[in-house]
């Protein structure tokens, strides 16, 4: 029988929730990295016991953690070249990994500034890793989306990182501006059918695509309309909150923008709004059913100034038509006095026959549904604010 492992990043540590395929009884382990912000953790499709975690702190910076045993034990993979792999006392050494922007003449195109909130040039400054995306094929290859926005890749299991600088250097980088949460590269989608194609999204620059494994990039924001920027249809400057794709149909993308739920049928070359009958189309998460490429999920949030559900009712909305027609899913979710948020990386699905859907809230609840959203139940209720949720389906 298959098992499910839910990886939860929170403001004060990581938690791992495990269950059998029934998804009724859950074991909870954690907090791992207690007291640290865990922006994201994710398992490798090539080796499910290989997990990567982004451990960050405003005081102490960025640490990359890795587990080779499904989260039972963790270590920092980076050991400086030439240094012993153990300390004089025999302890294993790790190093908080370096994320150094490429400023070389050859590849970095010395891009030194982006725009600050007030439009003035501002130097690129590394702050943290928002999202980790392991390769489909190789457990040692993994991508990291960082703030200030850039994409890095490691091909040695997280020991060293190199920037794919064609993204920042493709031409619009100097126009990018931070969103309220910082100028973060928060979404990385590796196309399972076309291994040279990668989609990424940046708040508040927009979505971008490469078709040559990250060497060259282009903005894919045509059709987005953002009233809050000087030119609502600008090539870049859109506050994309999250993008999702079904692996069987990788030309179709779904986007939760700051406002507006959007859909593309041509790999991002153009977008159409599919907010339809949603009660509000502001939100952060969006995800796709594991077996139904036209079934998608969002959690509508009241507005950009009121980051909680409309009317105090926590409702997931599901569309079985790829957008426009939405139904509220409420069974098992609080329908009064609920004022939590669901952040952009805090929803995921499992791949069991009856698709499981999971999301975490800033109130510390992680909700799960074993029936594609028809009914919900809290797996845990009182974690620190949840930053990210990922799911592994283990055979």
């Amino acid at each position: 029988m298959s098992n499910v492992r839910v990886l939860v990043g929170t403001r004060k540590g990581a938690f791992i929730l495990t269950s059998d395929g029934k998804r009724e009884k859950w074991d909870v382990s954690g907090p791992h990295f207690a007291g640290w912000e865990i922006y994201h953790l994710k398992g490798s499709p090539a080796d499910p016991n290989r997990l990567y975690a982004s451990q960050t702190s405003g005081w102490f910076g960025q640490i990359i953690q890795r587990s080779d045993d499904g989260g039972n034990t963790w270590f920092q993979p980076g050991t400086p070249a030439g240094l012993p792999t153990t300390t004089p006392d025999g302890m294993p050494v790790g190093e908080s990994n370096k994320f150094v922007y490429d400023t070389s003449e050859e590849t970095g195109k010395p891009l030194t500034t982006h725009q600050w909130y007030d439009g003035k040039p501002h130097p690129w400054e590394f702050k943290r890793v928002w999202h980790i995306e392991p390769s489909h094929d190789d457990a040692d290859t993994v991508y990291a989306g960082v703030e200030d926005a850039a994409l890095f890749r490691s091909t040695d299991g997280g020991q060293t990182w190199a920037e794919l600088s064609g993204l920042r250097g493709h031409g619009t980088g100097a126009q990018w501006q931070p969103g309220a949460g910082g100028m973060c590269l928060h979404t990385i989608i590796l196309d399972p059918k076309n291994r040279e194609r990668i989609f990424i999204a940046i708040s508040a620059a927009g979505a971008f695509r490469t078709d040559d494994s990250g060497a060259t990039w282009k903005p894919i924001n045509r059709g987005l309309y953002s009233q809050y920027i000087p030119n609502p249809t600008a090539e870049v400057g859109h506050c994309v909150h999250h993008v999702a794709m079904h692996p069987s149909n990788s030309n179709v993308l779904f986007m939760q923008k700051h406002w507006d739920v959007m859909r593309s049928n041509d790999a991002g070359d153009s977008w159409q709004e599919v907010s339809g009958n949603l009660p509000t189309d502001f939100g952060f998460v969006i995800d796709v059913h594991a077996h139904e490429p036209e079934t998608i999920y969002v959690v509508p949030i009241k507005s950009d100034s009121e980051h909680y559900p409309l009317d105090g009712k926590l409702r997931v909305y599901r569309s079985r038509t790829g957008g426009n027609e939405w139904e509220a899913l409420t069974k098992g979710l609080p329908q009064e006095n609920c004022y939590v948020n669901v952040l952009r990386d805090a929803m995921a699905v499992d791949t069991l026959d009856s698709c499981g859907v999971y999301f975490g809230t800033t109130g510390g609840q992680v909700y799960g549904s074993a029936d594609a959203g028809d009914t919900w139940a809290p797996i845990v209720r009182d974690l620190p604010p949840v930053l990210s949720v990922e799911v592994q389906t283990l055979s």
Partner: protein
Amino acid sequence: MTGAMNRTVRVAMPAHLRTLANVSGDVTLEIDGEVTRASILNALETRYPMLRGTIREHVSGERRPFLRFFACGEDITHKSPDEPLPDEIASGAEPFYVIGAIAGG
């Protein structure tokens, strides 16, 4: 103040850094030469490579903004990192403090 010789110093760090370094309490370091803030941090990062980047930025070597340094009750955060530290620090009688800015609520 101290001259150039091997000295044993103590460093007191915030709990998060002690956890990262797998230590409890103060750490003890051998300093070869002048005992300064820079030489202490260099020795600390050599002995505990996992701390690289957590106190000083990886690339610039600058102090991370929310951290401060104290010696014998004095805030030396904004003094030169190459300034010799008092004998009490150089002799290990007093620890060199790495302190995180207080924030909470």
